[in-house]
Symmetry: C2
Subunit: 154 residues, 2 copies
């Protein structure tokens, strides 16, 4: 089990959109950086659009960010691409025998406890912005991204 790569790919996409010259970050371009199919990227920008993080129009190259990266947390992205449902990180079996003194309380008890664990995880995501991620990468790369623009092709 693991959480879909849609999430990190969405982060990757947002960063490229941010540092690319207008009209150059096509789904083809992003896909070639991520090393996947352009449709995979479009599916993701479509989800980011529904979450109001980007604005994309048919026929127009390169989606536009609707907020600065510093206003987008990893939790925002995680929720936008729908990798884990609300309180659904853990599946809990939900048809235990009502006749069993233990079984009849397992679902509610475990659900409550595991929701706390999920919250702790999501809280960490809420504390990091996509700008922080971009900053980490810029530092590794030895550049400062706001002054830096991608080449229109790799």
């Amino acid at each position: 089990m693991n959480i879909s790569t849609r999430f990190p790919v969405a982060v990757h996409t947002l960063i490229l959109l941010n540092i690319s010259q207008p009209g150059t970050a096509t789904s083809d371009f992003i896909a070639s950086s991520v090393n996947t199919n352009p449709v995979v990227i479009r599916r993701i920008t479509s989800m980011l659009g529904r979450a109001n993080l980007v604005e994309a129009k048919a026929g127009i190259a390169g989606a536009k960010l609707k907020k600065p990266l510093s206003d987008i947390t990893l939790l925002d992205v995680y929720k936008a691409v729908n990798v884990v449902g609300e309180g659904q990180l853990f599946a809990v079996h939900d048809n235990s025998s009502i006749k069993c003194e233990v079984g009849r309380h397992m679902h509610s008890t475990m659900t409550t406890i595991l929701a706390r664990a999920q919250q702790a995880m999501e809280q960490v995501l809420a504390q990091t912005t996509v700008a922080d991620v971009a900053g980490d990468i810029a530092q590794l790369e030895g550049v400062v991204f706001p002054d830096y623009f991608m080449q229109p092709s790799l």
Copy 2:
């Protein structure tokens, strides 16, 4: 996406093993409380056995706990039933283009950040024991489990 029900079912199983009279908590019995197939339960007790939480022998009814429930954390169970690999809660795409200044750092950067989120979640699991879960259930049921034994059949 969500984490397998093996985990809560394993907790359910441990509690039943603890409060059942010796030799009565067969995989059949537990399965009828969980409402699943006995083989599913045996697969789980087998994993719990490999993690040294229970001892089960072929032919002998009802696995035996190797530790009191108060010495078994939810994290122990979660690891025993192998629902999430070490640092593998989040999948991160791992073949970004090396030619891309962003792509070439995405994997390491995201992996580091997401590992922190996973740790936060697992830390919550480490803070709760199976005895705590049993206690919650006993309270809902209005009994005290150490003095309470399951009926050999539901």
